[in-house]
Structure formats: structure tokens, C-alpha cells
Symmetry: C2
Subunit: 203 residues, 2 copies
């Protein structure tokens, strides 16, 4: 309905194009967001733009776990009360935040920065697997907390082969029906594995 030619302003068009480059934002939504910003006071627009701009240089990565951080060491790795002998391997920053939000985990992390994906052109050398191997020793437990799809399983297996020689303990997340899930809505793969990996009932 709104074509590229009838943008009334080059500046507006540039902003819409930038916003619509974000994943999941179409050109109509981008226009709506750009016009929303345009109605804001100038200082609010500047603040918005500079908040984004600072992502380019002011975000650092923890030298140990590769987590996003404001300095060279993240708050989790710097925390001596945490268990530095348990390393949870995750794909992304978002996974760390999800696990932290559970409040159930007191170990540290290792952020791979992606997952091995031949189709996506991501190989082991694009991830922080070498840094993980350097961290691992015989007295460490490595929890492979990657997604349960083919790429996640492939990455888990690749990492396992890289670290098994160190004598460390390697574990993975429990998989099965979610708490509160109903059997009739579960997919058959999950249900089948939940039966195969059944646990002792603890009343």
C-alpha cells in the first residue's frame, strides 16, 4: 500500500529502512515506529539513538565466559560466592539471562556465541569452543545447555568430543514433559523420551 517512491522525506525513508532491517519488523511497522519517534522531543530521539550507538563500542565481553559485560570480567565470573567448578555452556547471552532468572543455578557460564550450523555457515571455529577447552580440567562439571534440535545436539556432541579427554564430568539438561504439561498436547518425541528416561517417583 505504501510504496518506496512516495516517502515524503529522505530522512524519514532512511530511518524507516534502518528500522525495517531489524528481524521481524516489516516496512509498515517500521514506518509506524519512525513516525512515533518523530513525534518525540528532540532530546528523547537523541537519547534513543545514542543508547543504540553505544552498543557498537561500549559493550565488552567477559574474557572468561564471553558473556556481554561492561568490563573485561562479567559480574558472574567476578562473584567468588559462585561455584567456578560448574560451567554451564549456552548458545547466547539470552540463555544466560533466562537461566539466571530462574535463581536455581549457582555455577558459572560459557557463552558459545552461536551453534554449529552447516546450513547457516557456522562452524566450530566461529564459536568460543577453544576457550571452553582451555577452561576445562578434571575437577570441573560441564553442563551442556543447548537446544534440543539437531544443531544443538550436533554442537553438544562436538563439544563432548573436544573435552572428554580432560576427564571432566559432562552433563546435559533434563528433558521431558514441562511441569504442568498435559499428555494429550505433548509431541510424540518428547512423550516417548519422557517414558524412556522415566524417573523414580518421589512423593
Amino acid at each position: 500500500m505504501i510504496s518506496q517512491e512516495n516517502y515524503p522525506s529522505k530522512v524519514l525513508k532512511d530511518a524507516v529502512e534502518a528500522i525495517s532491517s531489524l528481524p521481524g519488523v516489516g516496512s509498515r511497522s517500521a514506518l509506524r515506529l519512525a513516525l512515533h519517534l518523530l513525534r518525540q522531543p528532540a532530546e528523547k530521539i537523541h537519547h534513543f539513538a545514542s543508547s543504540i550507538d553505544r552498543l557498537a563500542e561500549d559493550v565488552h565481553y567477559c574474557r572468561t565466559c564471553m558473556m556481554v559485560s561492561d568490563g573485561d570480567e562479567c559480574a558472574i565470573c567476578a562473584d567468588q560466592r559462585r561455584d567456578h567448578k560448574t560451567i554451564c555452556v549456552v548458545e547466547s547471552v539470552r540463555d544466560v539471562m533466562s537461566i539466571e532468572a530462574t535463581g536455581q543455578y549457582r555455577g558459572v557460564y560459557h557463552v558459545l556465541g552461536g551453534i554449529i550450523s552447516p546450513i547457516g555457515g557456522v562452524g566450530p571455529s566461529d564459536l568460543t569452543i577453544r576457550q571452553l577447552v582451555d577452561r576445562v580440567s578434571a575437577d570441573v562439571e560441564v553442563i551442556l545447555a543447548l537446544s534440543g534440535d539437531v544443531e544443538g545436539e550436533t554442537t553438544s556432541f562436538y563439544i563432548y568430543r573436544q573435552i572428554e579427554g580432560s576427564g571432566c564430568k559432562v552433563t546435559t539438561l533434563a528433558r521431558g514433559l514441562g511441569f504442568g504439561d498435559e499428555l494429550e498436547y505433548a509431541d510424540s518425541l518428547t512423550l516417548g523420551r519422557s517414558i524412556a528416561n522415566r524417573q523414580v517417583f518421589k512423593p
Copy 2:
């Protein structure tokens, strides 16, 4: 699931907060978008931020119709092939773009910059109604192309009272069933008005 406290970086948190200030963007989507930007090369982030930043100062408004423009006069008002005696009054820039996209209109526009909304705290003086009154004379047709809800009708009526003394012709958009609409899915108000305002059948 992801709380405010466990953001791993102040810079990331600021960016997420800025993005989630946009309408319809929740904090989870904002985090996803911020992490997407974070993975981009620095120059792409700078380009994105500066595209937004330029909205603050580099967008101008046409002195005649109040449309977004790169200069003091928009391309439509500057176009002498258009009919400057027909003024289509719309709420926003987006409406102009929607009407332009139809390719059916050869007149000019007047952008109100909003709609009278007592609940939203928008009164007639917040809109460009005074500038419209200054543009109108007896040989002009004013098309009130505002939305069909209570606020749109109120605004249309207010504008009509302001300009009727000039002797101009005042029209409004045709309302009725959409082309291709099925009767059984039409709301009763639209259907009722479509019957009341029935038109001569032109085979």
C-alpha cells in the same frame, strides 16, 4: 522471566529500555532486537543510530500543508500539476502516504497532526486547524478524510464549523461496505449506513 536486575551490561540495558519505549515492543522483543544489533558490525550500528538521530533535526514540515518534508515545501505542494483548490484534510503523515499510494488523488493535503481527543488531552489548538482556516477560500473544496470513530467525527464537525463561513465546499470520504466485503461479516453500523446511503446502481 528476564528481570531488570540480571542485565549483564548497563549499556545493553539502556539499549533495551530505549527500544522497549517504542509502542508495541515489549521487553523481550527489545532484548532480542538489541542482541541482534549487538551482533552487527560497528559501522552498521552507527548507521542505524544516526538514521534515527537525524529524525530530531533534519526532518522539516511543509509550511503549507504541515506534511513531513526535507525542506520548507513538500513535493506535493511544490507540484504545479496538482489541483491546489482541493485540500484533503488528514490526521497524519501516514494517511497522506496511504492516499498517495492509491494513485487516485490529484489534489493537495492538510495534515492535522492528530485528532481532537478529550481523553488523550488533545484540543483543537494542538492541531493545525488555524493554518487550514487560513488556506481555505470560497473556490476551494475541503475533503474531510478523518477516521469514522467518535473522535474523527468530532474533529470533522469542529473543522466544518470553523470553515463553513468561507463558503468553501466541504466533502467527506464515502463510507460503506468495502469492495469485496461479504454482508454477513459486516458490522451492523456499517451495513445500516450502507443501506441508508445507497447509491444508484451503475451497471
